[in-house]
């Protein structure tokens, strides 16, 4: 077993939490991520495997919030799968085995920073940072958008006041700053 310690996207030993009166921004360091892209001619087989894995194959603008794995649509026949890192650190390898020759799988865990934004003013904060129609989104909606010039995914989770934001990991600090600044604005 190796002894190298991972850091969170914000560079800490543990995840960062920023609490305001009506909103909380929590860095989520617990995700393993992998991309799945159907190979040519294997689209149906891929959808079938996804249904077995998640319960359904996410369509455009959709996430399937299964447990422990969840997935959302990234492009035509392309999805991101997430699972708890504690139990699924080798997610990409596992999925590679599961999909076999029907899909191309890559490890994405290192490419993303994840923030869970929760609280009653979450829609107000969303309106300050990106163009997703947050008040029309329901649990399981997943949109690609720009937050302060960063390409991000915004996923509406199960609880009515919870969204999950995935952004590029190298800009975790900039994205975090944007979220905290917006939280101050709408507080």
């Amino acid at each position: 077993m190796h002894d190298l310690q991972p850091l969170t996207a914000l560079g800490g030993v543990s995840a960062q939490v920023d609490s305001f009166e009506h909103i909380t921004i929590t860095e989520n360091d617990g995700l393993a991520l992998a991309s799945v892209a159907a190979r040519l001619g294997y689209e149906k087989a891929c959808h079938k495997t996804l249904r077995k894995l998640l319960g359904a194959a996410p369509g455009p603008g959709e996430a399937v919030l299964h447990d422990p794995e969840a997935g959302f649509w990234m492009g035509p026949d392309q999805w991101m799968i997430e699972a708890p890192r504690a139990t699924h650190e080798l997610l990409a390898a596992t999925l590679g085995g599961l999909f076999g020759t029907s899909a191309s799988v890559t490890e994405q865990s290192g490419a993303w920073v994840c923030f869970d934004v929760t609280g009653p003013t979450m829609p107000d904060l969303c309106e300050r940072i990106c163009a997703v129609p947050i008040r029309k989104m329901t649990a399981g909606d997943a949109q690609r958008t720009m937050i302060h010039q960063l390409g991000c995914f915004v996923i509406r989770r199960q609880a009515t006041d919870h969204i999950r934001i995935l952004g590029p990991r190298a800009s975790a600090g900039s994205l975090h700053h944007a979220l905290v600044t917006a939280a101050h604005s709408v507080a």
Binding site: M1, H2, D3, L4, Q5, P6, L7, T8, A9, G11, S35, A37, A38, R39, L40, G41, Q78, L90, S104, T106, E107, Q108, S109, G110, A111, W112, E127, R128, C130, A131, V132, P133, R135, K136, H148, Q149, L150, P168, R169, A170, S171, A172, G173, S174, L175, H177, A178, T181, A182, H184, S185, A187
Partner: protein, 978 residues
């Protein structure tokens, strides 16, 4: 005595007092006042000086169309010039100063300009400032710069913060007057998602300025009632203090919400203003109308304003501009002002009406005639009337209301190049047929100038736009007076009669423009600057083009209007910038070793959005050269480590992955063995080199492609385009993994020894030869990737781990390398070493060079088709005299070589005609002890050893250099393959 001009009533809170200062003098007003109404209440009519002639000016309007009464609001770093007093909400502690005067408002030294008015007419600057030429830069320009512009900046950083925001709705309603409120009510009750925006701080539009009845209550009370109902609807979002500034593409509107401008100071952490992007399916423009002035001699004195403004000040703000008021009108609406003011006890000197059949009054004189002149330099005192029968009268008055009719506010209908059309019934332009997608117009903005008309058209617009079924609910009763107007634009014989009061454009200027041949309305605008000030000609465009029409013998619609453009009203640059200022101007991308590098005291450089360590200074080093030289020597002597995470990584998989790479690279990849890496050159379709990198084959159907840092995005985009559009039948999938893996170069003779302490697998030359690649594990089982590739020319590897482990890996490399004096090196040392080896980089792949220029002509495989292959064979890129990449070194080892310098043959003149090539990359080589460079030279491959002139005329460099191979160090590559 304060507030001498207060009247009864109004929508001000008399129980609270706001103290404020204007030009150092203290005054008081009430919440609900604007700065303009409060100043008028205190008897202040003189509020500014005009731009060119420095004539004393007062407030002309009561709205955002104000051209004259512009002040510098607030002091210190928050000082803001050109703030309209008419839209500034009064608050306690407000501080304002007049602008555009030398001295004081009363004694402006630059008022002398008015005496030289004959020389300062329209376009005077095209006819002057020509001679002598020597005066242009030294005399005329400083004078003009000093005189130009209104107001001044504090030149301090803006301490306020501004937000951006994004809202979605089914229906956007612009304007909350009677039409907008009725539309919002209709749509809101039907359940539509509505945004109702109004620039004012009190909604209701003209209903707050008039004494007209709606149903069985005042218009103002009716508005309050409707707003309360709308506020209770969860599907309606009311946005006061929000100016919709423009109709942009795809149904997106821009709006500026003034969150804190009505407060002395914004609350901590709160934005001063927000720039909203409104995404709407449909829009109702209910922006109302703006009254027109009339042009007559000296019609710009303080106290002369729009008749409707006098009414607004009286009814909404409980203020009269003066105790004695006269009216000059061409329509029935002007009389309303006289009636309302008279009802509040103001003396009406007379109503002067150009129509013979004007309505009479029992309470004041109505005269048939025209105003031909006025008196009162710092404030109106008298108005001269020429009666229809030829007699003259002098009216004593301190305020004069002009009413020339109403212009529907069509601006937003024209932001997408629509043109308004002429409506002769109301003698005004109304929206044309070409509206922005999804927009309809209602109320006065559409030419429906009565209250009943506005209410009805607002409800109808909402019904139609949302496709609501059934009848409209019964409208409350309101006045429905027809427009009774005689078109009248200016008094015959006037010359110093103002049209554009902000840019000081007179009737005389329009006539001059016509006389000098500038006849099109577009030329009229630019030659005279009519309509080009911050008010965009809201109270002047119409008058100007009406006069031009008369001069040209055309109708007004034949002359037409100029284009209206966003923003509707002046918009702070700060709100357009939002949070993207200073450190936050663009996002930062930090490498996985950034924290560690900061601890080492690294100096960072911006590479796009990335911060990369440029060099790592050590104690005692005073120049960057010392650090860089040390890093280079130490790496070539023992081992160095450099973060190369920023280079693009594209994961390429699929059964056709190799075939796909064969298409995008000019050299061959189909036969690359699993476990091997190859250098690849990508060409553009026109045969020019686009980017270079490597492709590592980790499995039959799995490659990792690397790109340069700068081209990561363009190459990925190119690859996706090729995949989706050029070869959609290939089975290949792509995804960027640039940020997913931390990647470090470990280079130098001891690099294998160092890495063997970390990597679990065998790293001998036999097990892991030059250009090998593999999935490996490190430190007892962490998944990683290893590539034996070298940019430095040393025995070298690149090792990659999932990013979260990047920091730990760097620290482990430093720990393991301590016994080898492992040296962290940055981008400068990286650059020196690749120049020493003659490796091409972005400087050489500069968008004009081909594989042949780079010395890689034979790499373009003719055994397969690839992008750029065919056009790389064209005549112009081949044959004699082509540029070849070469090395350059100075003849005198003490000479420096600047990049960008040009090569001229020995003995020939230094000019463009004799230019033989140029330097692309240059540095000092600590290994060789002198400067070295790479560059392109005509037929360079055959000119080894030639001595040439190296010149940089602008920076006065002229030295002798020798052409050599670009591979200065270890040209055989023995160190690489160790």
């Amino acid at each position: 005595m304060t507030q001498v001009n207060r009247l009864t009533g109004g929508q001000i809170d008399r129980d609270t007092t706001c103290n404020f200062t204007f030009d150092g003098k203290a005054y008081s007003g009430h919440p609900g006042d604007t700065l303009a109404s409060a100043l008028l209440a205190n008897g202040v009519r003189l509020m500014g000086r005009s731009f060119k002639y420095h004539r004393p000016r007062g407030v002309l309007t009561a709205g955002s169309e104000e051209p004259n009464a512009l002040v510098e609001l607030r002091g210190g770093a928050r000082q803001e010039p050109n703030t309209r007093t008419t839209t500034t909400e009064l608050y306690d502690g407000l501080f304002a100063r007049s602008q555009n005067r030398l001295g004081s408002l009363k004694f402006d030294l630059l008022a002398i300009n008015d005496r030289f008015s004959n020389f300062l007419t329209a376009g005077f600057y095209y006819k002057t400032f020509m001679w002598p030429a020597a005066f242009w830069e030294k005399v005329y320009e400083p004078i003009i710069r000093n005189a130009a512009g209104l107001g001044s900046l504090s030149l301090k950083d803006d301490p306020d913060v501004y937000d951006k925001g994004f809202l979605h709705c089914d229906l956007l309603i612009i304007g909350a007057g009677p039409a907008g409120l009725m539309a919002a009510l209709t749509a809101g009750r039907a359940g539509a998602d509505v945004i109702l925006a109004d620039e004012d701080f009190v909604l209701g539009g003209r209903l707050n300025s008039e004494t007209l009845i709606v149903g069985d209550e005042t218009g103002a009370d009716w508005a309050t009632k409707v707003i309360a109902e709308l506020a209770g609807l969860p599907n309606v979002r009311i946005m006061p203090r929000t100016t919709v500034i423009g109709a942009f593409d795809h149904g997106i509107y821009g709006a500026v919400e003034r969150v804190s401008d009505h407060l002395h100071t914004p609350d901590a952490g709160k934005p001063r203003q927000i720039l909203w992007r409104l995404y709407t399916k449909q829009t109702i423009l209910a922006a109302g109308a703006i009254e027109r002035p009339i042009a007559f001699e000296n019609n710009d004195r303080p106290g002369i304003m729009l008749a409707s403004a006098l009414r607004t000040y009286a009814n909404r703000f409980a203020v009269t501009a003066d105790k004695r008021v006269a009216i000059f009108t061409n329509n029935d609406d002007g009389h309303r002002t006289a009636a309302d003011l008279h009802a509040k006890g103001v003396k009406i000197s007379a109503v002067v009406d150009v129509r013979p059949d004007a309505p009479r009054s029992m309470d004041y004189e109505v005269l048939h005639g025209e105003i031909v002149d006025t008196k009162g330099r710092l404030g109106l005192t008298f108005a001269e009337v020429k009666l229809a029968d030829g007699n003259r009268r002098t009216l004593e008055c301190g305020a004069l209301g002009m009413s020339g009719g109403w212009n529907p506010n069509v601006h937003m209908t024209c932001h997408q190049r629509g043109r308004p059309v002429w409506n002769a019934d109301i003698a005004a332009f109304v929206p044309g047929a070409d509206l922005p997608a999804g927009m309809v117009v209602a109320g006065a903005a559409n030419g429906d100038l009565s209250t009943a008309g506005a209410l009805r058209s607002g409800a109808l617009a909402a019904k139609q736009i949302l496709g609501l079924k059934g009848r409209l609910p019964k409208m409350p009763e309101a006045e429905d007076a027809p427009v009774n107007l005689k078109p009248f634009w200016y008094v015959e014989g006037c010359s110093r009669a103002w049209l554009d009061q902000q840019n000081d454009v007179t009737v005389k200027d329009v006539k001059l423009s016509y006389q000098e041949g500038f006849r099109s309305v577009e030329h009229l605008k630019r030659y005279t600057t009519l309509g080009m000030a911050t008010d965009q000609g809201k109270t002047s465009n119409m008058g100007g083009l009406a006069i031009m029409a008369e001069l040209a013998g055309k109708t007004i619609p034949e002359v037409g209007t100029t284009i209206f453009r966003p923003p509707y009203t002046p918009t702070a640059i700060g709100v357009l910038g939002g949070r993207h200022r200073g450190q936050d101007f663009h996002p930062k991308r930090l490498t996985p070793s950034h924290t560690w590098a900061t601890e080492q005291g690294a100096v960072f450089v911006e590479v796009g959005n990335w911060l990369r360590a440029q060099w790592f200074p050590r104690a005692g080093e005073t120049t960057w050269r010392e650090s860089v030289d040390r890093e280079v020597l130490a790496t070539r002597k023992s081992v160095g480590v450099c973060d190369v995470t920023t280079l693009g990584k594209v994961d390429v998989q699929g059964t056709d992955a190799a075939a796909f790479l064969n298409k995008i690279y000019c050299n061959g990849f189909a036969l690359l063995a699993v476990g091997k890496t190859r250098y690849g050159l990508m060409l553009r379709e026109d045969g020019i080199a686009m980017d270079d990198g490597t492709a590592a084959r980790l499995a039959e159907d799995h490659f990792v492609v690397t790109t340069t840092t700068a081209n990561a995005l363009p190459v990925y985009r190119h690859m996706e385009f090729v995949r989706q559009c050029l070869y959609p039948d290939m089975d290949v999938q792509l995804i960027s993994t640039t940020e997913a893996w931390a990647q470090y170069a470990v280079a130098g003779p001891n690099s294998r020894k160092l890495l063997s302490k970390i990597v679990d697998q065998d790293l001998s030359n036999e097990a892991f030869p030059f250009m090998a690649c593999a999935n490996i594990t490190i430190c007892g089982g962490l998944r990683a990737r290893l590539f034996r590739i070298s940019f430095s020319g040393e025995l070298a590897y690149e090792i990659a781990v999932p990013t979260a482990y990047g920091d730990a890996l760097m620290r482990r490399i430093i720990e393991a390398g301590a016994e080898f004096d492992v040296t962290p090196y940055g981008t400068e040392a990286l650059g020196v070493m690749r120049i020493e080896k003659g490796h091409a980089a972005g400087n050489e792949l500069n968008g004009t060079t081909t594989a042949l220029n780079l010395g890689m002509g034979r790499m373009v495989s003719k055994k397969k088709d690839s992008i750029g292959s065919t056009l790389s064979e064209r005549e112009g890129l081949n044959g004699e005299g082509q540029l070849h990449q070469v090395g350059i070194k100075p003849v005198d080892p003490n000479d420096a070589i600047p990049a960008g310098a040009h090569l001229i043959s020995a003995g020939l003149p230094v000019d463009a005609e004799h230019d033989q090539g140029y330097i692309t990359s240059a540095c000092y080589s600590p290994n060789l002890g002198h400067a070295i460079a790479i560059g392109f030279l005509k037929d360079g491959a055959h000119r080894m050893g030639e001595t040439m002139q190296l010149v940089s005329p602008l920076t006065r460099v002229h030295v002798d250099v020798e052409i050599t191979s670009a591979h200065f160090i270890d040209p055989e590559g023995a160190r690489l393959r160790a």
